[in-house]
Symmetry: none
Subunit: 122 residues, 4 copies
DNA sequence: GTGGTCTAGACCACG
DNA sequence: GTGGTCTAGACCACT
């Protein structure tokens, strides 16, 4: 339900855009479904409409949504394709980190154990 | 040594601090060795002395170096301990990313393959 | 008939007006033929009557149709003249683009090849 | 010298971005050259800094420039690559228009003559 | 000094 | 009602 963390280093508009992507990934919005209006989201989250607008603009530039003047914002990609793009991003970051760990002399077994290890329940 | 990439999104002072840590890890500076002076580094890298000062302050706050008024900056930790702290940081980030990948439905084998697979020689 | 694409960047009223022009060009309506009423079109296309009204107003301002109070909207120009006006518009746009291409240093042969080359069957 | 036309339908930030691209294409700024600052451009053009900022953000998202906090905005692509991207765009638009003209029954000779014709000296 | 983000409030085009 | 643009002014991070 679109949690905004003001202590987060990421800008608000990015958190909002990410949150909407999450909702799409988890099936809350199907393709061509209408998203909440800029003003509605702004008042719900107590955020300036310009900031919400910017989040939508970011999503549109990524091809995740499309917006129609006078009508609203709509989902253009289905959850599956958004999920795949996200996994590709994560994969790249993981590879970069693994590379850095190797450069510091970590061996493969240690790296693998970090990832496969059970997550702590925090 | 100490390559600065102005196109990198990370701030300069962070790149400088990271570069000095790298040098310590790779044995260029032993424990209690004296680091180059702020002014010297600034002129070598053509960087504002304030920025170098900030990099040193960051390293001091992390306990990697200590400064003696009027004498200069000195390495406090040896390469091994710096390396271990770095690996711990990387490990945490890896775990967070793996967690995110799982939340998106990636299975363990796929995640492991991303990390263990051979990197392209770019 | 009259396909509306909500993802299109062009406003709906413009798409409707363009679609009616297409019908006239292709002979679906002869000169002085009566067009469907605003309310009828609105219900057929599931579009706000104000939008249809605006499309008719646009066509009237271009001289393509004329409206008679209490009776309806009628085609004023025949298909041939509408087609010619359209081609004149396209011609102007083509010239402007060709001029821009020349300003960027493209040679005549390249420009000609872009236009005359076979289109892919997408 | 970055002419802004307030009667133009295109938003100001787009005109500014386009104008800067033009300058890069025509060799006014080489790769890695520093662009005027946001505030300077804003005062020169009598435009709000936020609007200039938006133009720069657009150019950065297109990969034409890169920006470094605290230092400024810099050209990332050389004029040639920008010119090629622009020509590709124009080519696509030309093809679309030619297709529309054919759909209206224009023959190839007429279309070609529109483009190769000398431009009027207006 | 630089760029980046956010708020507040206004205006326009569209439906 | 909707989205999109612009202005004004503030604050922050960085050099």
């Amino acid at each position: 339900m679109l949690n905004i963390d003001y202590r987060d280093a990421r800008p608000i508009y990015e958190q909002v855009a990410g949150g909407i992507e999450d909702l799409i990934v988890h099936g809350a919005y199907a393709a061509d479904a209408q998203l909440p209006s800029v003003r509605q989201l702004a008042s719900e989250l107590s955020i300036n409409p310009n900031t919400i607008q910017r989040a939508f603009a970011l999503l549109e530039s990524k091809g995740v949504i499309y917006s129609v003047k006078g009508r609203g914002n709509f989902v253009s990609a289905d959850g599956t394709s958004v999920r795949e793009r996200r996994l590709a991003e994560i994969s790249m970051q993981l590879r970069a980190l693994a590379k850095a760990a190797r450069a510091l002399g970590a061996n493969e077994k240690a790296i693998a154990s970090w990832i496969l290890e059970k997550e702590d329940p925090s």
